[in-house]
């Protein structure tokens, strides 16, 4: 009986400690120290939320850089990958369809989250010709786009960790701005 009372009390105690106080303390500090990140790294333009830096959105206009294919259809509710097997005929079909659209490299494969906000710098450069054709850009403007990719490329963190990448949403916002100015 005493064991049952202790078990019950301990569950309450630790629920309060690890379920309420712990999460609350992290949230409290985060709110002051890292308010932007804690609330989803939202991108606001003209007073309205156009998305999150960390959540891919669907760009299909040939005038924009495209993100990786999303098995979730760019709907974050819920996130997830295609879960195709390495021997899947359906995956082979998808890859061939994407090749026909001129996609290359990792753009042939759906991401694991379905919300991958990045592409590799090479995959971005591979898209410059399409964007130039859709927007009717001359050689100089094309070069400006290439420079934009280079400027927007995030290197390996601390020069060591992870992969080089470009954030597709931020790159497209910068692209639209750059070409409007000219």
């Amino acid at each position: 009986m005493r064991t049952a009372a202790t078990a019950f009390a301990a569950l309450l105690f630790f629920t309060l400690l690890t379920g309420v106080l712990y999460a609350g303390a992290v949230a409290g500090i985060a709110r002051f120290a890292f308010p932007k990140q804690a609330n989803g790294s939202l991108v606001v333009r003209g007073g309205r939320v156009v998305g999150s830096e960390l959540i891919a959105q669907n760009f299909k206009d040939p005038k924009h850089f495209w993100p990786r294919p999303s098995a979730a259809g760019f709907n974050p509710l819920p996130s997830g990958g295609s879960n195709y097997a390495p021997s899947s005929a359906a995956l082979l079909g998808k890859i061939n369809e994407r090749k026909k659209l001129g996609m290359t490299r990792e753009m042939l494969f759906a991401s694991g989250s379905g919300l991958d906000p990045h592409i590799s710098p090479r995959a971005a450069h591979d898209q410059v010709e399409r964007i130039a054709a859709a927007r009717g850009l001359n050689e100089m403007e094309k070069n400006a786009v290439r420079v934009l990719i280079a400027v927007r490329t995030e290197g390996r963190q601390y020069g060591l960790l992870g992969e080089e990448r470009v954030n597709v949403l931020l790159l497209n916002l910068a692209l639209d701005e750059e070409l409007r100015r000219e």
Binding site: A7, R48, Y84
Partner: protein, 563 residues
């Protein structure tokens, strides 16, 4: 693989080696109630816990009392989590108005989180209210890990004890593990994760209209705090459906590195704690060496398989299911770490890994989660393998087996075999049942041998309390929810109870002075015997499944076949 990819593998391994003695030494002090770094600030909290929960800190428990306390505490945890899920629509902190969870899914998830499996049949962002995540799932992330550490401490006391029949106090072990180890580590990691981009709030989801006009609902929630303990407590249950692949769970390469190291940190450090508690450091080092060797072998095999070409798809590199910021090297490293430890979080889709890389993940789980394994229970499982190795060696040389001066007799060996046979039996029975019933077959999504692997992986993951999945399997059905839930219970408690029984029976034995002729267990020879035992017992049991699944798929991919 280039030199950069190699670096992605060596950095986490190096950090692990450096941090193991540091954290291991700290834990030895903190868990045995000695003075340590955090005694001053946190001892009052520990004392408060005992006062509120009517715990006599000095009480020493027999193994039966220890086990019944553990079981009762876990039962209450299960009931609370089940109730939270099935009532969440009427409870607060549910800004999205998410519905109550069905009884079968709630049963599966409650068992899953209480047993430290964290198998997920649901998608967090569309199923679980913030209240359920915080008060239910996050709490069990801590408590199931602390329960595992308690099992390790009880078993270690069995080896150390000089003839008293007690194994410690469950409530004290639970409290110290949580307050001194899991909570401080999680707090620091959670803050770093928010800094890097993980969300931490209880706000409603944010509606956005994208640049090209597409509408999105961006999920929010108290994610960072839960992700930290999910990694550190070998839990693995994601706040979001995509788990560690989700940009809010794993936003940057630094976050990825820290989460990766966190998977193995506590289980690895416990090998050092073990050596300190025994006052024989070399015994702990032998265990660490065996675990590290098996981990490295798995890594090498998996990297080789994933970086190879895929003839079925005609591609030199397949990156299906791998986010760009994570990349192939970090995906493979995580898949090996998370299955070596019974963590089960993923940062890429295991279903889409090359056949042999998925196979390595499966083998890691099959050997019984002893390559580091779950927090506490992995170490305890490894000690069981040591007892079996000592027993087999004893048979070979024809003398009574001994470990650390204690005679290993029929009772200990029998109990040890239960902990190995029970999970293996439910893997085979469960997989067979799923493959012979329409309800089981209905869940399979992949065609060909991969579909078979989906099922075997699910039951293996559940029985060994890992929780990762070939996620193509549609497992949120009454059949899989109930079957996998039962398998998780067997895998957890039919190992913990026999282990505590071994602890009790060893604790009651007098330690015989180590004789010169005794069989030494801190030598290279013993290390080799231990690895051989793990591979023979762990892998051979499941070789037929491996042959029919990953191995045959690998051969067929080599021939360019698709399904």
């Amino acid at each position: 693989m280039n030199e950069h990819d190699v670096l992605q593998i060596l950095i986490p391994l190096g950090l692990l080696v450096v941090l193991t003695p540091l954290l291991g030494g700290y834990m030895a002090k903190a868990l045995q109630g000695k003075n340590h770094l955090l005694s001053k600030p946190l001892r009052p909290l520990e004392a408060l816990a005992y006062r509120l929960c009517l715990v006599d800190e000095k009480e020493e428990m027999t193994w039966k009392k220890y086990a019944s306390s553990l079981l009762l505490f876990n039962l209450f945890g299960f009931l609370a989590l089940f109730a939270l899920q099935t009532l969440q629509a009427r409870l607060p902190l549910n800004p999205q108005g998410l519905a109550n969870i069905s009884w079968d899914s709630a049963f599966n998830t409650a068992v899953s989180f209480v047993t430290n499996t964290d198998w997920q049949g649901y998608a967090g962002e569309t199923a679980m209210s913030y209240l359920t995540q915080m008060l239910g799932l996050c709490v069990q992330n801590f408590l199931s890990a602390a329960t595992g550490m308690a099992v390790f401490l009880a078993l270690t006391r069995g080896f150390v004890s000089r003839g008293s029949a007690t194994v410690g106090n469950f409530w004290v072990d639970l409290t110290r593990s949580t307050i001194y180890v899991l909570l401080p580590l999680s707090f620091v990691l959670a803050l770093v994760l928010v800094w890097q981009g993980s969300v931490q709030n209880v706000a409603p989801y944010v509606s956005s209209t994208g640049v090209e006009g597409g509408a999105q609902s961006i999920p929010m929630g108290p994610a960072a705090s839960q992700i930290a303990i999910k990694q550190l407590g070998t839990n693995g249950g994601g706040f979001f459906n995509a788990n560690g692949a989700h940009p809010f769970e794993n936003p940057t390469p630094l976050a990825n590195l820290l989460e990766l190291v966190a998977i193995l940190l506590v289980p690895s450090a416990l090998t050092w704690t073990y050596g300190v508690m025994l006052e024989r450091r070399r015994q702990g080092l032998v265990v660490f060496a065996a675990m590290f060797t098996l981990l490295s072998a798995g890594l090498a095999a998996s990297l080789w398989a994933q970086y190879g070409p895929n003839r079925s798809l005609g591609e030199p590199a397949v990156i299906e299911g791998i986010d760009t910021r994570i990349g192939t090297a970090n995906c493979v490293a995580w898949s090996v770490f998370t299955t070596a430890a019974s963590n089960g979080s993923v940062n890429c889709a295991h279903e889409s890994l090359s056949p042999l890389s998925g196979g390595v993940a499966l083998v890691n789980i099959m050997v019984g989660e002893v390559v580091f394994g779950g927090v506490g229970v992995g170490m305890a499982g490894m000690l069981v393998f040591i007892l079996i190795t000592v027993f087999l060696s004893g048979l070979m040389v024809g003398r009574t087996p001994e470990y650390l001066g204690k005679k290993i007799e029929a009772r200990e060996v029998r109990m040890s075999m239960v902990t190995i046979l029970a999970p293996s039996a439910v893997i085979l029975i469960g997989s067979a049942a799923a493959l012979m019933t329409p309800a089981g077959l209905a869940g399979i999504s992949a065609k060909g041998p991969h579909g078979f692997t989906e099922v075997v992986y699910a039951f293996t993951s559940a029985a060994q309390n890992n929780g990762s999945a070939f996620e193509g399997l549609n497992a949120n059905s009454p059949f899989y929810n109930v079957a996998l839930g039962l398998v998780m219970l067997v895998g957890r408690f039919l190992t913990i109870i026999p282990i505590l029984a071994v602890a009790g029976s060893l604790a009651g034995k007098k330690s015989v002075a180590a004789r010169e002729t005794g069989f030494r267990t801190d030598t290279f020879l013993f290390f080799a015997l231990l690895i051989a035992t793990i591979l023979v017992v762990g892998v051979l049991t499941h070789f037929p499944s491996l042959a029919l699944g990953p191995i045959v798929e690998h051969l067929l991919v080599g021939l360019g076949r698709t399904f």
